[in-house]
C-alpha cells in the first residue's frame, strides 16, 4: 500500500487585484444596502434650491430640480447593481447552455448556432439595446430582459470555445465511458471546468451593463427620472457642462466609474487566480 503524498503544497498566491476588487465591490454593496442611513436627504424629493454647488448642507450639491446629489449617488447602486446583476445572471443562464450545445453538438447544429450568434453580434450592442428599450419601454423588467438578450451571445461564444477545448480532454472521454449522457457531461464536467472564465466574464459584463444602463437612461430610453440612477443623473445634468455646473454630472460619473473598475479588478483577479491554480496543478 502506498499512501498518498501531496505533490504540491497549495500556497496562497499574491492576487492584489482580486483582493482590492472584492473589497471595493463589498463596499459598494454595503453602500447600496445602507443607503437610507448614509443619505442625508430623500433622493427623489426636492430638498433645497436648484443647482447649489457642493456645501456643508448638500455635500455634492443639488441638481436642476433641487434634489440632493450625494443622496442620489448613494441610492443609485440599488438600481444599477440590481439591473446589471440580474441582467448579467440571466445573460449567462441564457448563453451558457446555448454555447455548450453549439460546442458539443456535432456538425451542422453547432455551426448553425454559432453563425446565428455572429449575426446577433453584428447588431451594435448599444444601438440594439436603445432601440429595444425605446420600443418596449424602460421598465426595470424590460431593461433586465434587454441586458440579458444583448449580453447572452458573449456567454454563448465563450462557452462554445470552452466546450470545443474541453471536449478533446481525456476526462471528458472518461466521463462518457462512465456513462454520462451529453447533458450530464455538459453540466457535470464542462460547465464546472469553465466556471472561472464565466465568472470573470460576468464581472466584466456587470460593469459594462452599468455603463449601458447609464447610456440608455442618458438618452431617456432607460430608467425613468427622477429615479436615483447614475445615467439618469448624468443626463439630467448634461446641460450644465456647457454653463459651468459640473457637479450634477461629475459625481455620479465618478461613482459609476469606480464601480466598474471594482468589477474589472475582480474579473482580472479571477483570471489570475485561475492561472495560478492551473500552474500549480
Amino acid at each position: 500500500m502506498t499512501t498518498v503524498a501531496p505533490t504540491s503544497t497549495p500556497t496562497r498566491r499574491r492576487n492584489p487585484q482580486l483582493l482590492i476588487g472584492l473589497t471595493a465591490v463589498a463596499v459598494i454593496l454595503l453602500v447600496a444596502l445602507l443607503a437610507p442611513l448614509l443619505a442625508t436627504h430623500d433622493p427623489v424629493r426636492v430638498s433645497g434650491a436648484v443647482l447649489q454647488p457642493p456645501s456643508g448642507e448638500h455635500w455634492l450639491g443639488t441638481d436642476r430640480s433641487g434634489l440632493d446629489i450625494f443622496s442620489r449617488v448613494v441610492y443609485a447602486p440599488r438600481v444599477d447593481l440590481l439591473l446589471a446583476g440580474v441582467g448579467t445572471l440571466l445573460a449567462a443562464l441564457l448563453g451558457v447552455p446555448l454555447g455548450a450545445l453549439a460546442g458539443y453538438a456535432p456538425g451542422i447544429v453547432g455551426e448553425a448556432i454559432s453563425r446565428t450568434l455572429d449575426v446577433v453580434q453584428a447588431f451594435p450592442f448599444f444601438i440594439l439595446a436603445m432601440c429595444l428599450l425605446g420600443i418596449v419601454g424602460g421598465s426595470l423588467p424590460n431593461i433586465i430582459a434587454v441586458l440579458a438578450i444583448v449580453n447572452a451571445p458573449i456567454y454563448a461564444r465563450l462557452m462554445h470555445s470552452q466546450t470545443r477545448t474541453l471536449r478533446g480532454r481525456m476526462f471528458i472521454d472518461a466521463a462518457r465511458v462512465s456513462g454520462c449522457r451529453p447533458r450530464q457531461v455538459i453540466l457535470g464536467h464542462i460547465v464546472p471546468n469553465s466556471l472561472s472564465p464565466i465568472l470573470a466574464q460576468m464581472s466584466v459584463t456587470l460593469g459594462m451593463s452599468i455603463i449601458l444602463v447609464a447610456g440608455v437612461s442618458f438618452v431617456g430610453a432607460g430608467v425613468e427620472p427622477p429615479t436615483a440612477e447614475w445615467g439618469v443623473m448624468i443626463g439630467d445634468g448634461s446641460g450644465g457642462m456647457f454653463t459651468g455646473q459640473w457637479w450634477p454630472v461629475v459625481f455620479p460619473g465618478i461613482a459609476l466609474a469606480l464601480t466598474v473598475v471594482a468589477f474589472a479588478l475582480v474579473s482580472n483577479g479571477i483570471t489570475v487566480a485561475n492561472q495560478q491554480r492551473s500552474r500549480r496543478a
Binding site: T116, V120, A122, F123, P124, C131, F218, A257, V261
Partner: protein, 342 residues
C-alpha cells in the same frame, strides 16, 4: 484562397436574411397598430381595419416578412414621421458625417495604439515597466468611464473652463459659409473644394469628439498590440534575427507582421464598436449624424427611423466582419492553406 472567399460569401446570404429578420421582428414589437399610427388617433376603427387589410398586416408573418424583404430590396426602409422623409434618404444624408467621425477617430486610435504598443513591446527596461503600469491604469479607467460622460467632461474642461475649443455644437460654424456638398463629409468636401475657412472651423469642431472617442477606445487595442508584439518578440525567430544582427527596423517589421492577425481582428471589431460609441458622442456634440438621428428617433418614438439605423448598422458590421475574414486569409498563410479559421 478563392475557395475560402467563395465559402465566406455564400455564408453572407443567410446572415443577411437573418439580420433582416431580426430587424423585421423589431417592428413586430412596436406597440399599437401601424395602421393606426399612420392614420392618427382620430381615424375610425373601420378605416384602421381597412388600412390594415390593405397593408397586409393581417397576413401570416412569413408573407409579411417577404413583403418587408421586397421593400428592402427596393431601398424602402419606411418613412420617418418626424422628418417626413424616406428613412433611407435621411440616413444617407447623415451617414457621411458619422463615417467621417468614426473613421478619423479610428485612424488616430490605430496609429496611437501601434506606436505606443510597439514602444511598450520593445522597451525592456525600467521605462518599459513604468509604461506598462501607466497603460494598465489607463486601460482600467478607459474601460470604466462611460464615453458620453467623458465627452461632457471634455466639453466642460476645454470649452467652459479653459475656452480653447469652439462651441461644441455642429460640424462647423455657419458664419464661415456652407461647404459645397460632394461626398457629404465636410472634411473631404472642404479639402476638395479648397474651402479653407470652413475646413479650419470643421477641424476645430472635430477635435473634441475625436479626442473623446480616442481616449475611451484606444485602450483595448493598445493592450492587444502590446501583448502580441511582446509575444512575437520573445518568439524564436525574432531572437534569431536579433542574434544575426538584423537592423532594428527589420525586426520591428517582422514583429509587426507576426503580431498582425489578432490586431486586425480586434481593430475590425472595434470599428464596429465605434459605430455604437458614436451615437452618444454625436448627441453631445450635436454632430448631426446617424447616431444623433437614432437618439432623436428613440426620443420621438420614430420606429421606422430607428429600425432603419439598426438594420444598416448591423449590415455595416457584417461587412466589416467579412473584411476581417478576408484580410486574415490574406495575411495569415496558415489560414490561406487550411481554408478558414472560423
Amino acid at each position: 484562397m478563392s475557395r475560402l472567399i467563395g465559402r465566406r460569401l455564400a455564408l453572407l446570404v443567410p446572415q443577411l436574411l437573418l439580420i433582416c429578420f431580426v430587424s423585421f421582428l423589431l417592428i413586430q414589437l412596436t406597440p399599437g397598430s401601424q395602421a393606426r399610427a399612420q392614420l392618427g388617433s382620430s381615424a375610425s376603427d373601420e378605416a384602421v381595419a381597412a388600412l390594415e387589410d390593405e397593408l397586409g398586416l393581417n397576413d401570416p408573418w412569413p408573407a409579411q416578412f417577404v413583403r418587408y424583404l421586397g421593400g428592402l430590396l427596393r431601398g424602402d426602409l419606411g418613412t420617418s414621421w418626424t422628418t417626413g422623409q424616406p428613412v433611407l434618404d435621411d440616413i444617407a444624408r447623415r451617414a457621411p458625417a458619422t463615417l467621417e467621425l468614426i473613421t478619423v477617430s479610428f485612424a488616430v486610435i490605430i496609429v496611437l495604439a501601434l506606436l505606443l504598443g510597439l514602444a511598450g513591446g520593445f522597451a525592456r527596461n525600467l521605462l518599459g515597466r513604468i509604461g506598462d503600469k501607466i497603460s494598465y491604469v489607463y486601460s482600467l479607467m478607459a474601460g470604466a468611464v462611460p464615453d458620453f460622460w467623458f465627452a461632457m467632461i471634455m466639453v466642460f474642461v476645454f470649452y467652459y473652463t479653459f475656452p480653447i475649443a469652439v462651441a461644441p455644437v455642429g460640424q462647423y460654424d455657419e458664419a464661415f459659409g456652407t461647404p459645397a456638398v460632394i461626398t457629404g463629409s465636410v472634411l473631404i468636401d472642404t479639402i476638395v473644394t479648397g474651402d479653407v475657412p470652413v475646413l479650419v472651423s470643421h477641424l476645430d469642431h472635430l477635435i473634441l469628439p475625436v479626442l473623446a472617442l480616442v481616449f475611451i477606445n484606444t485602450a483595448p487595442i493598445l493592450r492587444m498590440v502590446r501583448s502580441s508584439v511582446g509575444e512575437a518578440l520573445t518568439s524564436g525567430y525574432i531572437t534569431l534575427a536579433r542574434a544575426n544582427g538584423l537592423p532594428q527596423r527589420r525586426i520591428v517589421g517582422y514583429a509587426l507582421r507576426s503580431a498582425l492577425p489578432p490586431i486586425v481582428t480586434l481593430a475590425g471589431v472595434w470599428y464596429t464598436m465605434l459605430i455604437a460609441g458614436a451615437v452618444l458622442t454625436e448627441t453631445i456634440f450635436s454632430w448631426g449624424g446617424v447616431g444623433q438621428y437614432a437618439v432623436q428617433a428613440v426620443q420621438s418614438a420614430d420606429w421606422a427611423a430607428l429600425q432603419g439605423v439598426v438594420l444598416l448598422a448591423a449590415l455595416l458590421s457584417l461587412l466589416v466582419y467579412l473584411a476581417i475574414d478576408l484580410v486574415h486569409a490574406w495575411i495569415d498563410p496558415r489560414v490561406r492553406a487550411s481554408g478558414g479559421t472560423r
